[in-house]
Amino acid sequence: MGKSNVFILSVFSMITLCSLANGATFKGEIEGRYDYYAKDSLFNEQSDRREQYSLATALDYNGQISRDIDITMSVFGRYHPEADKYWRGDVRELRLSYYASQLEVSGGMLMERWGVLEAFSPVDILNPRDRVEDFQGDVKLGIPGGRLSWLLDSGRVDVWLLPYSREERLAEGKDRFRTSAIMLSDAEFENGQNKLSSAVRVSQILETMEFAVSYYNGHARSPYFVPNLDGVGNVIALQPNYARIEQAGFELLWVRGQILVKLESIYRSTGDDDFTGLGIGLEREFPRIGSAKNSLTLYGEYYYDGRESDRISPLTPFQNDVFLGFRLALNDLRSTEYELRFTRDLDYDSTFWDVRAKTRIKQQWFIEASLYKFVHVDADPALRSFTSDSRLAVNVILGF
């Protein structure tokens, strides 16, 4: 039975289980998005339209099959005429879960989140990213597998078995936010895509201190690229390669008065490159500015990553970077929020500005806007291909 047949069978099985569920909640949203790019595209194949429109929908379902068993589904799809693939989507989550007093068992398509930092979580390894939907990697793809969890009094132990490795979704062809001008060939996994990956994470809360340790053994979630050459040595394509890695992670969060102190570190071992990564940060919230209900949260983070760029580890934009964030929530009836995010690369003096705003225009209608601005990224190997991709995006969303 092929992969696609297994997937279709799984989806139909889940839909059948959904029909058995009662006490179900179903919610979703439809989004219309307008993008305006300040410059023409950098690469020839990319769409030359500076104004682009797309439509997206997201559906979330949760149904109780019994008191201890439920099914959760989260699917997403976007129609984007100026993208390389007009239609794209993902089953981000489709899992059947059993809950006992101290035990949880989940299987299906999983969506997991590790880490404590705001701009980037070095430890967060399980789900591959959807870089077409969001080049920063905040949007993730579902990963098939199972999770077994033990709940402790003040923490939990989770074990994952992941029998299939998915590729990261990379921009190519007509897409903006491409990382290279060269086309991509089929991906290669070091031990085959069906090689089992596994992970364990132990998290614990000790009053004002929280920490977690994790270990992952499996394919990397981001690829390095191997040039495919023609007969005379010209590069005709880049092949995404997913190396087998081991990664140990540590997370720490410490509440100090109104300040959160955060730390994440990793040690990653690949075939011929072992390195450490580190992120440290502070978060300070001012819950009330003056007598108004406005709250302001400030973030300051620093990232270091010791990988060698000429080895097989993929590039990371967070190798020696400072991040500052300001989030203002008006806490008004419209749930209005503004956010300013600034990332500065200390090696290449490149800067990325990310300004966001959102508000509710009716009970179920929302409007969001975001502005990405890349400044002096020409020398930054992780960002230089985005030099023409500074963008304003406006989303109108209907929730139901």
């Binding site: 909640t25 809950y99 809360i205 969060l253 819950p287 009330r288 007598s291 806490n331 749930s335 929730g399």
Partner: protein
Amino acid sequence: MKKYLMLFVVSLLAPFPVFADADRGLDIAQETQRRDSGFGNYAVSGTMTLEGPGGFTSERKFKMYTVEVPDDGDKRLVNFMEPRDLAGMVSLTYSHGLKPDDQWIYLPALRRTKRLAARDKSGSFAGSELSFEDIGTWEVKKYTYKYIKDDVLDGKPTFIVENTPAYPYSSYKMIKEWVDQEIYHPLRLLYHDVNGRPLKEMRFYDYKKFAGKYWRPMKMVMTNLRTGAVSTIVWTDYQFGADFKASDLNPAALRRWSR
């Protein structure tokens, strides 16, 4: 001479009514605590309507779960159902009396449980006029008490008591409370800001008795006295002795609640 002697006698006696008022205020608080202790846990559904000065309204629906912790502050979990941008969000607070609370929030879009710094509890609860301090569970040791006088409110005899926060990071200087003399629960709270000026008023309506002992309001109305903004919570479906345990209100299990 007689006048000065009288002043001397009055000055000697003056402290006694103050102590008596403090003792009586504390007695009233302790009686409230005595009558309300032993409930174990309860769950209740809330519909909160926010009304802004411009007439714009917005509604939030949530379910609140409270577990009594005898030797510490109570544990409280709030699970939001509406509106769409809050649906699935879960907040969990471990109240600690005079120590800062422990607080977490589960953000469903990110599948992330996030620890919050909760020393300052003045932040708005879901955009309402209520702060996290206002929705926190009440405990005797959180305040010092001063009985002022008896009064009548909405036809009911009440004690007026001034509650002064003992928590050093409170956003209030004093909360004036009208306590129903029959059921020993508040009918009105008048919040004074750190400068001592009236800031907000909370009114409690339609108290009903549950599990044969515990009185709870069916409606609460918070009014911001400066802006005129009003937040109304209508409570329904109180369940005492509900089917959940203290260990279920665990920050490591918030994703379970977001269903």
